[in-house]
Every structure is written in structure tokens, then in C-alpha cells.
């Protein structure tokens, strides 16, 4: 076993160029993609002297993260050296398993508007609430509401026509939701109103009102995860794509290079002084395949994606910043593994 593993290497890739290309690239051709599935079996390339098994040290050596753009609620970064199942698990956790707070129970005190109670309750539920969910517990079923697991908002809007004909409160907006602190919640969030729990956006229309119509409800926020209902999902989108890699045959030069350059709607190509064309901005490529549509260029341009180079983008709905969301997702992944481990150990005892 030890002799065999000495012979296997993981540094140089596969000796066969075609196979190495299959292992590390997803090829994009006119009819569609080729080799979209990675090969993960540890012994897949044993006969070629390549070790395909998992090794933490070499994973650490190859792994890197590079942030492309960062705003508090929009993060785009490159994750290099990780395989699709891991990247996908993180994406799935971000969408469905990072908890947030959302309105779950709505007590309707008065509703003389045109919107039915249940539709109103659903609309209220979907409003993103800006509050750190880590400060709260999950509400256990059939338990009383406590300050540890529930936030209360009240919504009281009355539409009126003033003497001069102007209509006030023609639209009930999310900013009309008033936080009602219970027990020690006031101390928990301090005195600055910007730190208080509130809807992330002030201008989300909840309903239109006509003069004389009133709405008075009490909303109870609970903590839960996106798998239960999408209103608890902390992200607008969490998605990834693979980095495009575009190689042009050196024979494309001069006039032909200019034609190819003008074909690309994303302006990915640049032409060197020598007249040689190359892909200067592969990140901008949308894989529209316009450059390989012409039969003349099809054999000259190689459109590929790098299998272990992910461009991850996380857009938050506002409860946590995108950065915090990714950190939470990784912690939840570990926590999920821990729960399975404890459960397995319990079975054995």
C-alpha cells in the first residue's frame, strides 16, 4: 500500500493531455457542454499514476479565496480549489438553512381594506426584517412566546382625506411597522433607533388604502430557516458559476482577429500589438458562444470552464451582511456534521 501510494502523485496532473483536460475543464461546444460531471472516485486515475483521493494537506495548499467586489449586502468572490459538491452544499445552506427572523403570526384587530386577512398576513411575512437572528432562539412548538424567541411589530394605518383634498396614508408601507419591545428587549438593542429591529427597507408597499379604510394588526416574528418557508431565506440569490477559460489558436491574426473581436458582445477579447488576439477579460464572458457560432472560428476558439474555480455571489436580504452569511453557512455545515456524528455515536453506545 505504502509503495503504491509513493508511486502516485497529485502534483503534475495526468500525463495524457486529453484526459487532463477532461479532468479539469468543462468544455463548451455549439451543441452543448461536454464533461459536465467531475470524476471523484479515488482510484479513477490510479493506472495513470495520479492520486485522486482526498488529502487535507494538498487541499489546503491548493485552496484560495479572492474577493472580487464587496458591498455590505452584495459579495462576489472567487473560490479556487474546491469541488462542486462542497460549493453546492454551501450554496444550498445559504438559501435554505441560515436562519433569519420573519413575521409568522399576524393577529388582525381591524382590517377594512380590500386585501383579505390571509393575503395581508402572507405579504407581511415576506418583508425582510433587519435584526440579528443569532440573538434569538428557535420558537419551540406549543410554547408561550418569550422575549428570547419573538419580536412583536404593530401596524396601524388609517387612510384619510384632509379638508384640502390631499389623501394621507394612501399606501401602507413597511416603515409603518412599529417595533413593540417586550421584557428586556429594549436593553438588548440599545437606544439608537438604527440598531432597533425594523424592516430592512422602508418603502415596501404592503397595501393600498382608500380614505376611511383602516388596518390594525399585530405581527409576531419568529426565527426559522428557508427550508420551512422562503420568507426565512437570508439571501436574494446565492449562486456560483465556473470561471470561463478562452483560448484562441495563434493562427487567428490581423483582419480575422478583428472580426472575432467584434463578434463578442461582452468585449472579452483584446488584440496585442503583434496582431494576436487573446481573452483579456474572461470574467466578463457569459458563454453566449457567439465566438464559436461561425464555422470558420469554431475549430480555432476553445471555450472552457475551469472545474474547480467558482465565482460565488451572495446577495443578502438585509438581516446579516453577505460576509456574515457565508461565515454562518460554513459554521452550519460543520454543525450539521457534528449532529450526525453525535447521533452515530449514540447508536453505538
Amino acid at each position: 500500500m505504502s509503495d503504491k501510494s509513493k508511486l502516485l502523485s497529485r502534483t503534475n496532473g495526468l500525463p495524457d493531455k486529453n484526459l487532463e483536460n477532461k479532468r479539469t475543464r468543462v468544455t463548451v461546444t455549439n451543441p452543448g457542454t461536454e464533461n459536465p460531471r467531475g470524476t471523484y472516485y479515488s482510484g479513477a486515475y490510479t493506472s495513470l499514476g495520479y492520486d485522486n483521493s482526498f488529502n487535507l494537506e494538498s487541499f489546503k495548499d491548493n485552496f484560495s479565496i479572492n474577493i472580487l467586489s464587496e458591498k455590505p449586502y452584495e459579495l462576489v468572490f472567487e473560490m479556487i480549489g474546491v469541488d462542486a459538491p462542497i460549493a453546492n452544499a454551501l450554496r444550498r445552506i445559504l438559501i435554505a438553512e441560515v436562519p433569519t427572523m420573519a413575521i409568522e403570526k399576524v393577529y388582525i384587530i381591524n382590517n377594512t381594506s380590500l386585501i383579505q386577512d390571509e393575503v395581508l398576513a402572507h405579504r407581511l411575512g415576506l418583508i425582510p426584517i433587519k435584526v440579528d437572528p443569532r440573538k434569538f432562539n428557535f420558537k419551540l412548538p406549543n410554547k408561550e412566546y418569550t422575549a428570547d424567541d419573538t419580536l412583536i411589530f404593530s401596524l396601524k394605518v388609517k387612510c384619510e382625506k384632509l379638508a384640502d383634498g390631499t389623501i394621507v396614508n394612501g399606501t401602507a408601507l413597511s416603515k409603518h411597522l412599529q417595533w413593540m419591545p417586550t421584557e428586556d428587549q429594549q436593553e438588548m438593542f440599545g437606544s439608537d433607533p438604527m440598531d432597533h429591529p425594523r424592516p430592512f427597507d422602508d418603502d415596501i408597499p404592503i397595501m393600498k388604502l382608500k380614505p376611511g379604510q383602516t388596518i390594525e394588526v399585530q405581527c409576531y416574528c419568529e426565527k426559522n430557516i428557508g427550508r420551512e418557508h422562503i420568507k426565512w431565506s437570508p439571501v436574494c440569490t446565492a449562486s456560483y458559476r465556473l470561471l470561463p477559460s478562452i483560448t484562441v489558436d495563434p493562427s487567428v491574426k490581423g483582419e480575422k482577429a478583428k472580426i472575432l473581436q467584434s463578434k463578442c458582445p461582452q468585449k472579452v477579447f483584446d488584440i496585442e500589438d503583434s496582431g494576436q488576439i487573446y481573452a483579456a477579460r474572461p470574467l466578463d464572458c457569459t458563454m453566449c458562444r457567439e465566438c464559436i457560432r461561425d464555422p470558420e472560428f469554431e475549430p480555432k476558439v476553445k471555450l472552457e470552464r475551469i472545474r474547480d474555480h467558482f465565482i460565488f455571489s451572495i446577495e443578502s436580504t438585509g438581516a446579516l451582511t453577505s460576509r456574515e452569511l457565508f461565515q454562518e453557512a460554513l459554521k452550519i455545515f460543520v454543525e450539521k456534521c457534528n449532529i450526525i456524528e453525535t447521533s452515530l455515536n449514540k447508536l453505538n453506545n
Binding site: R92, A96, R134, E335, I340, L347
Partner: protein
């Protein structure tokens, strides 16, 4: 997992809804080297990543997972090992690898600045 916030209790951890925390795994097996693990309330997130990491283990001959029915909250994971370790050990190794990967990504991410 203890939270740094004073008002959250251990009984109710801050990450995973408590209902997802009971009777997570069942084992169906009559030999030590192969088993089917039946997970409750798990899906492709854990299923595919465990399948992947198990396939990457040279001591594992076969691993595969399925979700038999979309309205059942069950996920089956089948493992067959090369008999120098048991399938349960292989699963524990896999979980450990996943945790190491995740921790390393977190560490790298925390060090990365724009």
C-alpha cells in the same frame, strides 16, 4: 454549540432548528463493511457532499445516496468499504474531512480582505 449571546440557552442552539436534532441516523446493515444509513431531515446538501468525500476515500469501494421520495424527509446513503475499516468508520472519517474542509474555508475567508 454555545452561543455568545447571553439570552440563548443550550437547549435551543442558535443554528439548527431543534426538531432537526433528534434521531438523525439509522443504520441498516448485516455486515460491518457495508451499510445503508437512513438520515432524517437531510437532503442533497449533506447527501451529495458525503457521497463525494466518501468516493474520495481510497478505503471506500462504493458510496451512493438517494432521496427515495420527495415528500419523505429521508435520505439514504449506502457505503461499502474495502473491509479494512467498517462503513461506520468510513462515514465518521468523511464527516471529519467535511468539517476540516469547512473550517479551512472559514479560516481562509476570514483572512481575506478586499
Amino acid at each position: 454549540m454555545t452561543s455568545s449571546y447571553p439570552n440563548s440557552s443550550d437547549a435551543c442552539n442558535s443554528f439548527i432548528p431543534p426538531s432537526f436534532n433528534v434521531n438523525k441516523v439509522e443504520i441498516i446493515s448485516d455486515r460491518p463493511d457495508c451499510a445503508t444509513f437512513v438520515f432524517t431531515d437531510e437532503d442533497h446538501t449533506i447527501g451529495n457532499s458525503l457521497h463525494y468525500i466518501l468516493m474520495k476515500n481510497p478505503q471506500v469501494d462504493f458510496s451512493g445516496y438517494s432521496i427515495p421520495h420527495p415528500s419523505d424527509n429521508r435520505m439514504n446513503l449506502r457505503i461499502q468499504t474495502k473491509s479494512n475499516i467498517t462503513s461506520q468508520e468510513a462515514l465518521l472519517n468523511g464527516l471529519n474531512d467535511l468539517k476540516n474542509i469547512s473550517n479551512h474555508i472559514l479560516e481562509t475567508f476570514n483572512q481575506t480582505e478586499k
